[in-house]
Symmetry: C2
Subunit: 101 residues, 2 copies
DNA sequence: TAATCAATTCGACAGTTATCGAAATGTCGA
DNA sequence: TCGACATTTCGATAACTGTCGAATTGATTA
């Protein structure tokens, strides 16, 4: 039974998911979002991101959905805010996947 | 003076080139081209690629130009054929760049 | 309750891009 | 020289996508 207490579980990506991640990263603002989430040690909200980058709420929401669908970003809705975190296990699996090429 | 006798020269990618590579890889056929070139130990021709994947010559030429522009693929024209090789130094620099995120 | 705020959804638009047929270019062999 | 071949270029089209205003939803606060 998988548990979130294992920080680096052996995640395996499908070819489709790898492609979805590559597509997601191939857009400047989405890459910037991933970079910012990676550098943050706590979860961020949409407002935090919008304070750093000029982007309309609708556009940010669109990009976050893409990143969530690709599996790179985890979104927890709580009250008014969305808690955004980078799924580091997926990110590491993605990097490991690229190395094998 | 840089020389090709150094297999792992310290290549540094600009943010623009990193994005160009990500965009280039975010297309299934281009990723497959990169994978095939990576696995090949000698240079490949367009015909070799077309023997493995169903793609019109014009489409292949288009994708190769994208990969060349991104800096990932080196193309040498010689007679009838194009010699295609993966630029492994750029590829490694790209991977190293992603790790830093 | 009313106003404010965070975030999402909807709809539309503009720009980009993947695709390929047809034609062109250049090369090699018969 | 002539025909076959590898590759590129051109032009057109369909599909995709990034963008954002406006409206909506849901939650907090005054």
């Amino acid at each position: 039974m998988p548990s979130e207490s294992e920080p680096t579980a052996p995640v395996v990506l499908s070819a489709a998911q790898r492609m979805a991640i590559l597509k997601a990263l191939g857009e400047p603002r989405r890459l910037e979002i991933v970079e910012r989430l990676s550098q943050a040690d706590h979860s961020s909200a949409c407002t935090d991101l919008r304070a750093c980058m000029p982007i309309a709420p609708a556009t940010l929401s669109h990009h976050l959905k893409e990143l969530e669908t690709a599996g790179l970003v985890h979104i927890t809705r709580e009250g008014k805010y969305a808690h955004l975190t980078l799924r580091r296990d997926i990110w590491q699996a993605f990097l490991a996947d690229l190395q094998k090429i």
